[in-house]
Amino acid sequence: MIEFTIWDVLRNLLLASRWTIVLSLVSFIGGGLVGLVLLFLRISRRKWARAVAKYYIELFQGTPLLMQLFIAFFGLGLFGIDVPAWLAAGLALILWSAAFLGEIWRGCVEAIAKGQWEASASLGMGRLQQMRYVILPQAMRIAVPPTVGFSVQVIKGTALTSIIGFVELSKAGTVVTNATFQPFTVYGLVALIYFALCWPLSKSSQILERKLNVAHRNH
């Protein structure tokens, strides 16, 4: 029987972590872009646009991420479209993140006092100009802590993609366990790596929150 050292295990896990990081970044950035579109739809003056965004968000927040992954992976296959695991994983995570980010940001935009809209409107600004120059710069400040906080959820969410066969940190953990028969050591290391990725983010979210709130200054 081949002996595996801790280093062998760790090295394989670290290599697989690259995919966790890449998938997290893709999901977060892609989700952010789609989330921005959702935000604009959600606060649009057109009723149909608000309805579209609302139902989208309710659908993606109201179903488990795992089901979304299955549907992206197997569902499209039913139509004869061959979806590789990385594509299904990226797509599902982007759409899922977008629903949450869009809703977080809508809350931030709505937290800006109505008077800011009225003052900028009375100065003749159009809706996009109001958003760009008056509302978003203020909303972004309050959006930073919850957005960074949500990025932690995205990282942990990538673990689910192991089920459809995408080889990231969790999947690598299973593979390595099957070879070494040391589940406790392997999954312990997996957990530590997740922690090393997530903890700095949660911590910085807390620090940012304190920094932006306690001073309560807007500049």
Binding site: A119, G124, G126, Q129, Y133
Partner: protein
């Protein structure tokens, strides 16, 4: 033709009709005080004039710009009439100078140097040119309201709407804001102000409008309205018997 023409304006919020047919024409250079109990519709009327509220019926025009509910018409109207709010509504993320420059650059596409020159001029007019680089939260309420006035003036409107602009101020700060308004009136700016400052209305305004239950109940020069209120409602409001 009058500068501001308000013709049979009606406004309802749901089943509640707050403006029940308002007719009011304002000539250039007039200073109009709108008084009345809360809920009489005076703030709503003011907000309708620059399209912050849509009207249910009737028409409003300012200097030939009609109030219509699309962005192009609203912009044309709002370039003619500025508004100052009870809560100042300065942009907290911008400096005083930035507040006064923003809409010039964004709406009128004024180049930055020209916008800055205009901002300095308007801030000087309200006595705050030395606060150009300060942020709104470093200023007193009275100073913030004067910046708001400078911000509205920088767009060179032909009329200003003032919605209870001294009501959120500490008593000792009211005078500095009213002094600025008094000066504007003396320079011939057309002003429509909802106010509780009766003494100011009496001294400065050319006409006083008393609103009651969504209608113009009495209207006339201040000496007449204040000295000889004709209706029991106005008498009660003014506390004379």
């Amino acid at each position: 033709m009058s500068l501001i023409e308000i013709t049979d304006v009606r406004k309802s919020f749901g089943d509640n009709e707050v403006l029940k047919g308002i007719d009011l024409d304002v000539e250039p250079g007039e200073v109009i005080a709108i008084i009345g109990k809360s809920g009489s519709g005076k703030s709503t009327l003011l907000r309708c004039i620059n399209g912050l509220e849509t009207i249910s019926d009737g028409s409003i025009s300012v200097g030939g710009a009609q109030l219509l509910d699309d962005e192009a018409h609203l912009k044309a109207l709002r370039l003619k009439v500025g508004m100052i709010f009870q809560q100042f509504n300065l942009f907290p993320h911008l400096t005083v100078g930035g507040n006064v420059m923003l809409s010039q650059m964004v709406v009128k596409k004024t180049p930055k140097p020209a916008a800055e020159a205009m901002a300095r001029k308007m801030l000087e007019r309200v006595g705050l040119d030395h606060k150009f680089d300060a942020y709104p939260d470093e200023l007193s309420g009275g100073q913030q309201q004067r910046v708001a006035i400078a911000r509205a003036l920088a767009m060179q409107p032909i009329a200003l709407l003032c919605d209870e602009i001294t009501s959120a101020l500490d008593p000792e700060l009211v005078a500095e804001v009213l002094a600025v308004v008094r000066e504007l009136a003396a320079e011939g700016m057309t002003l429509l102000m909802v106010t509780h400052e009766m003494k100011f209305a009496r001294d400065v305004c050319s006409r006083v409008v008393f609103m009651h239950q969504g209608r113009v109940h009495e209207i006339g020069p201040p000496e007449e309205v204040f000295a000889n209120p004709r209706t029991p409602e106005l008498k009660q409001f003014l506390g004379v018997h």
